[in-house]
């Protein structure tokens, strides 16, 4: 099938299948899945700038489906999501501007690839360490979560210290059961937004772990709230990329047909797993993204 906006020939079945797989991951982990979608779109000949912008548009649609399902399960903190959206939009604009500057300099592909690898590997290494430690602590203490939504973290002492910074104004998040400075929430969201605009996707691979480890939000709520927040921030990102000529909405629409089914399956599945297990299962995802980008750099193939 020919997509005139990007000038690419791509099988719609391929796009729907990619959308379906990313939909499952997104619904389950609260991530955009750009570490898979980016390389998957590059593999069929899209340039990075089109892959980044188009993926953002696809993420909006998928997040609508998954967030709606998570809201029904009580996994969305609307107050936190709305506050984070403000910071994410600011950070996202900075990231998108950097992409434009790199496009003009002519080295966007190399820089984005290297940054992707560093970010993906760092997240994976940290999360594998934390979730394994938490699970072994839970097993030793014998209070392995009877309630699937019960959550704990080996990084919890650092989180409590962060929550202890009483910088005015303090925000009380009733749904999450957390009281924390507004500035810390904004800082987390600005950083996440920057990577969203720069590397593409909703940057859930940064924000979901940040919400758990920095803000102290329970994992199930972090997943659902992140998806809700992504709808707002990825919509803004889609618009800014669209006016810069980086979005092929036809490709995103086709991907979303598969994602609509996958996202519901993923969202429903979260209720069967405890927080540390979700975080441990999250680890291979950024690693896969890193391996694909390394392969691309190593072989020179357009992945």
């Amino acid at each position: 099938m020919f997509f005139p906006i990007s000038g690419a020939h791509i099988s719609p079945i391929y796009l729907a299948i990619i959308g379906f797989l990313i939909g499952i991951l997104g619904g389950f982990f609260g991530v955009g899945g750009s570490f898979i979608a980016g390389p998957a779109l590059r593999a069929v000949g899209l340039d990075w700038n089109f892959a980044v912008g188009t993926d953002l548009a696809h993420i909006v649609g998928k997040s609508v489906v998954a967030a709606k399902r998570h809201r029904a399960l009580g996994n969305v903190d609307l107050k936190l999501g709305l506050i984070m959206a403000i910071g994410t939009i600011g950070g996202s604009e900075c990231g998108a501007q950097l992409i434009q500057a790199l496009k003009r300099a002519g080295n966007v592909n190399l820089v984005v690839s290297v940054v992707s690898i560093v970010v993906y590997l760092s997240i994976s290494l940290f999360m594998v360490w934390e979730s394994r430690k938490t699970l072994s602590q839970n097993n030793r203490s014998g209070d392995a979560a009877k309630n699937k939504k019960a959550d704990s973290s080996a990084f919890g002492h650092v989180t409590r210290r962060i929550q202890g910074f009483k910088i005015w104004p303090m925000v009380h998040l009733d749904v999450s059961g957390v009281r924390i400075s507004l500035w810390i929430i904004l800082l987390v969201s600005v950083v996440g937004g920057f990577f969203s605009g720069f590397l593409g996707g909703g940057a859930g691979y940064i924000r979901m772990p940040s919400m758990v480890y920095v803000l102290g939000i329970p994992t199930h709520l972090a997943v659902g709230t992140d998806l809700f927040e992504i709808i707002i921030s990825a919509s803004y990102g889609t618009f800014t990329h669209a006016i810069k000529g980086n979005v092929d909405i036809l490709i995103a629409l086709v991907m979303n047909t598969g994602a609509a089914v996958g996202a519901q399956i993923g969202a429903i599945s979260t209720q069967y797993f405890a927080g540390p297990k979700i975080r441990l299962a999250f680890v291979p995802l950024p690693l896969i993204g890193a391996v694909i980008v390394i392969y691309t750099l190593w072989t020179g193939h357009k992945l």
Partner: protein, 80 residues
Amino acid sequence: MKKEAAKTLRAFLIELVIYALLVFAYFFLVLHFLGGWLYQLEIHHRYTYGVLAILLIIGQAVVLESVTTLLLRALRGRSE
């Protein structure tokens, strides 16, 4: 328990087949007619294209979510 799982899986597979047929029709009818128009819009009216892109993807997501939910309910004979 196994019976329930088998029923869910069968409903899901039937849903997938019906859904695939709908999507197949969607590819070749809707996108075929939208493609040229969106292409022209992307070239000449970027801001309108940006707004329309968001509305299209959100609108499609809401419709698809409703379709899949309705299909699943109809096939399972009860709400989830």
